[in-house]
Symmetry: C2
């Protein structure tokens, strides 16, 4: 098993699953944010932990054998719900919801206290993770999907916790390499700039690689 | 308020708080991992969500007004529990626990399904976040704490989910800039290499900056 699964689910079933996955993940995201800032005493803490363990026990009754991977539908759509940055059902992910506007790929997302690095600021590594995803998506949007080869982030200013915008665009293509650029904008200023080199997977070379498809060797 | 707080807590109280924070965060980390892979039906899901909301309500009874920031103790130790990569009480953080061995700063940590990018592999952005933290800690360990100026990550191979080792060391210092290098090792191979430039905060320049201290301007 290589983590890619082809599932032929009807659109309404996917919609229903998405709704359920979102409800669950959103409840856990709320819990995460509160966990970081809670100041309650031992009694409340113990009761909260008991609830959390009960929830985990219920969710453990039936699980996937490994990680979520990528699920493909016969209509060509795919679900990457486990993705650490964009995953709908991954509470670690903000999640980053990607949009495309002309040649620009972007996302607007709010960074809560769970994404803190220096006091009051977003962790530089979290920004790097978001940039990796947005720059990679820009490469794919330009018709050249790939694995990250190199990612460079230049930090210009601290990025305050709160709403941020990440955006990326194609710079150029050179053979199997696609170069994209991007940046983080927060409170009206560019706080970080990035360059990414994405490498076309071996299995997609020589083919019309218009979208990521199930296959091996793309690591 | 700049997010740095000086707290004069006795050592045993800090130990007790650490134990409680760890118990809470670990329960939420377990819940996160299960959330990503659960396949239970609606009844279990609804009951789990009810428990999660109950837990959040309990923890919400008393919270910090903003993010966790950095708490200093009079003995010079500090707590960065909210940190998205190393935070003891931040369930988003694996957490990365840093160690120093001679001139090397390192961490060994297990990447569960919540840190997935490509199927079965760690998200490249998560690796960048860990490298940012470990390279920055290596700069601080070398006596030159700083904010990340530039971070470059070169991905050599996919990094399988599971145990990884991140390590970093000082390369050189040039004025207010400290250059560190590092890498990720997984399943016996170097899967990513990184270079970081860390900038000494303005407030620490000209002073004996042996450790990060409360102050403004370090953004």
């Amino acid at each position: 098993m290589n983590g890619y699964e082809l599932e032929d689910l009807p659109a309404e079933e996917i919609e229903r699953l998405t709704e359920r996955a979102t409800a669950l993940a959103e409840s856990v995201r709320g819990l995460i944010q509160t966990t970081v800032v809670t100041e309650v005493g031992d009694a409340d803490l113990d009761e909260a932990i008991a609830h959390i363990r009960a929830a985990q026990l219920l969710l453990s009754r039936k699980t996937l054998p490994g990680s979520f991977g990528v699920r493909f539908n016969s209509d060509g759509t795919r679900r990457t719900w486990g993705n650490a940055v964009t995953g709908t059902r991954n509470p670690v992910a903000p999640p980053v919801v990607l949009a495309h506007d002309g040649d620009r790929t972007w996302s607007e997302v709010t960074m809560g206290p769970a994404y803190e690095g220096p006091p009051g600021l977003v962790h530089g590594g979290v920004l790097a993770a978001i940039l990796d995803q947005v720059l990679g998506s820009a490469a794919e949007h330009a018709g050249a999907p790939g694995m990250t080869g190199t990612l460079t982030v230049r930090y210009r200013h601290g990025t305050p916790l709160g709403p941020i915008r990440a955006e990326a665009w194609l710079d150029r293509r050179e053979g199997v390499k696609t170069f994209t650029m991007g940046r983080i904008i927060a409170a009206g200023a560019v706080t970080a700039e990035a360059e990414g080199v994405f490498i076309l997977p071996r299995w997609a070379r020589g083919a019309a690689a218009e979208s990521l498809r199930p296959g091996v060797g793309d690591a």
